[in-house]
């Protein structure tokens, strides 16, 4: 999703992330008039944070809290609709959907986290270089950004995974090759502005080397919007991984990856909707958690919030 927002132009990036509260940034006057508003924004950050924490805990303790194993089959209980024994029903092999979803949390969260790290690092590095040094370095990097952004995000990812071969690890490579451009754009824009600030001049005047100026002085001041963006991207990559699994390019059944589970249920659509419906719901819930948190983060980090 952020892929779209990203091309829409940098300034409204951080603001235009994903949720309810950000959509219209209240003006200063309005905030002054409604003292409750600031607290409400922090509540967003807190609700999102608690939800994410809950999901992480589920992932960590999945084996303990799941009533059954992820691959535990029970041929006497095949295609059962949700009931007391199996709250979310069972699939064609008699596997408990709830247990599989809980175990799947481990896979999907890991996929979201791993996917976001590489593009974030590469984009931050190249964006910093482009913004700080300008000149031919900037031209070369930004040309590459333009070219990569000319491709529809999903289609380029699919094409790269297609030639590398299906699987989640090749998806990480593909995402790293494609998704860094948004971070590079963002960071470059921020650094172009920041490098003329007084604190940067001061650091340089004191004889700090370029790497130190960028790493210790500029980045800590400008990285926040990229972090907000990364938060929103986690869910983008979970959805991406699920979609690739659906197309046969990501995780393979019987892995309880949510997308793979939805795909497995496809064959039983007319009779056993719960096999596909509930794993999708897990993705949606995770997505909402990250969206709310991302919005809260965007509000909290916005400098003129007081």
């Amino acid at each position: 999703m952020s892929r779209v927002a990203s091309v829409a132009g940098e300034p409204d990036r951080a603001a235009g992330s994903t949720g309810v509260a950000t959509a219209a940034a209240p003006g200063l006057r309005e905030v002054a008039r409604r003292p409750g508003l600031i607290r409400w924004r922090e509540r967003n950050l807190m609700i999102g944070g608690v939800l994410i924490l809950a999901i992480v805990l589920v992932a960590v303790f999945a084996p303990a809290i799941a009533p059954r194993g992820a691959q535990e089959t029970d041929y006497t209980a095949r295609l059962e609709s949700p009931n007391r024994d199996h709250p979310l029903g069972t699939d064609n092999l008699g596997r408990d959907i709830l247990s599989r979803i809980l175990h799947g949390t481990r896979i999907d969260l890991r996929v979201g986290a791993i996917s976001v790290i590489l593009p974030f690092l590469i984009g931050t590095l190249l964006g910093s270089l482009a913004g700080y040094y300008g000149g031919w370095i900037d031209t070369a990097i930004m040309r590459l950004v333009d070219v990569v952004q000319a491709f529809p995000f999903l289609i380029l990812i699919i094409a790269i995974v297609a030639v590398l071969g299906p699987g989640l690890s090749n998806m990480y490579i593909a995402v790293a090759l494609v998704a860094w451009v948004t971070y590079a754009r963002l960071l470059r824009g921020e650094i172009l502005v920041a490098k003329h600030r007084e604190y940067v001049e001061a650091a340089r005047a004191m004889g700090a080397r370029d790497a130190r100026v960028i790493g210790r002085h500029i980045l800590p001041n400008v990285i926040s919007s990229a972090l907000v963006f990364a938060m929103a991207d986690v869910i983008l990559y979970i959805v991406l991984a699920a979609s690739l699994s659906y197309l046969g390019l990501g995780a393979r059944p019987p892995e309880p990856e949510w997308g793979a589970m939805i795909t497995e249920g496809r064959t039983f659509l007319a009779t056993a909707w719960w096999i596909s419906a509930f794993p999708g719901l897990a993705i949606v819930l995770t997505g909402i958690a990250f969206s709310i948190f991302g919005d809260g983060l965007a509000d909290a980090l916005r400098p003129n919030r007081r």
Binding site: R143, F153, I155, L247, A270, A277
Partner: protein, 300 residues
């Protein structure tokens, strides 16, 4: 634009270079006869130095020779022309639905800012935004096609009316994922326009509310919306790849995924290329529309 075009051909060309192992062997399978592998290598020009291969490739692309499909044994260009028609219709349909849904919602949420209605719509859109497209597609397929029998389960149909009926659920699926961003952006720019001096002036002149909203607020707020819509086209195309596979539509997105399964790399390569070229063309068109809508912008 030209450097970007050169760049995308370079990337698409590189795609085939990074196929692990010998491309011809990968395409034909390990049991292929050595002679046929060698023949394919020669046909694809893979026995020549890389830069010559690239020049050769660009020359072919420039003359619309996209090679031959290994699976279908016909020219990729003719294959794509047929499949692209479906995808383009789907993209256009989805765009119409996005506008039809997000325009009223954007206006209504902005005019009723912070009301329960506004908050409900925005909460709902937050949900539709994170729903995986293929999951939505599958659920709609169960509900509307299988259970209720309102729409066909798969295929594209014959004739314009049938196309529109067959493509409704797929287009809606794509539209649902893009509508949230549109509504949000539209709502934001309407709110911004409402604060502006020209709207205050319009009100001060005593114009009717309707005239102020439609003639002054909306007219200005639509400019960023059009831009965002144009820039979303890449995302739209990604959406078509997914829904064409969910709803078994004979479009380019389905062709892409089928070709991956069949290791039909010339088709994978060309489909990717065509989609990228389309994105560039749409972006160009968006710039033109933008300068038309906003007289302050003149293309230099």
């Amino acid at each position: 634009m030209i450097p970007v075009l050169i760049g995308i051909t370079l990337i698409v060309f590189t795609l085939v270079q990074i196929i692990p192992g010998d491309p011809a062997t990968t395409m034909l399978g390990v049991h292929a006869r050595p002679e046929s592998i060698e023949a394919l290598n020669r046909e694809l020009g893979l026995d020549k130095p890389l830069w010559r291969q690239y020049v050769y490739y660009v020359g072919n692309v420039a003359t619309l020779d996209l090679g031959e499909s290994l699976k279908f044994k016909v020219s990729v260009a003719s294959l794509l022309r047929k499949r692209m028609e479906v995808s383009l219709l789907l993209i256009a349909y989805a765009t119409v639905l996005i506008v039809a849904i997000s325009l009223p919602l954007g206006v209504a949420t902005a005019l009723k800012k912070d009301s329960p209605f506004d908050q409900a719509v925005r909460a709902l859109l937050m949900v539709t935004m994170v729903m995986p497209g293929f999951w939505v597609g599958i659920l709609m397929l169960i509900l509307f096609s299988i259970k209720l029998g309102l729409f066909p389960v798969s295929g594209y149909g014959e004739g314009a009316v049938a196309h529109l009926r067959h493509l409704f659920l797929p287009a809606l699926t794509i539209a649902l994922s893009l509508t949230p961003i549109q509504v949000r952006s539209l709502r934001g720019s309407i709110l911004e326009a409402m604060e502006s001096d020209y709207v205050k002036t319009a009100r001060a002149k005593g114009l009717r509310e309707r005239t102020v909203v439609l003639g002054h607020i909306l007219r200005n707020a639509l400019i960023p919306a059009v831009t965002l819509l144009g820039l979303s086209v890449g995302y739209l195309m990604g959406g078509t790849v997914i829904v064409e596979n969910v709803f078994s539509l004979p479009g380019a997105g389905k062709l892409l995924v089928e070709s991956i399964g069949a290791r039909d790399y010339p088709v994978v390569q060309s489909t990717t290329l065509i989609f990228a070229v389309l994105v560039i063309l749409v972006n160009l068109a968006t710039d033109l529309v933008y300068s038309f809508l906003d007289p302050r912008v003149r293309l230099g």
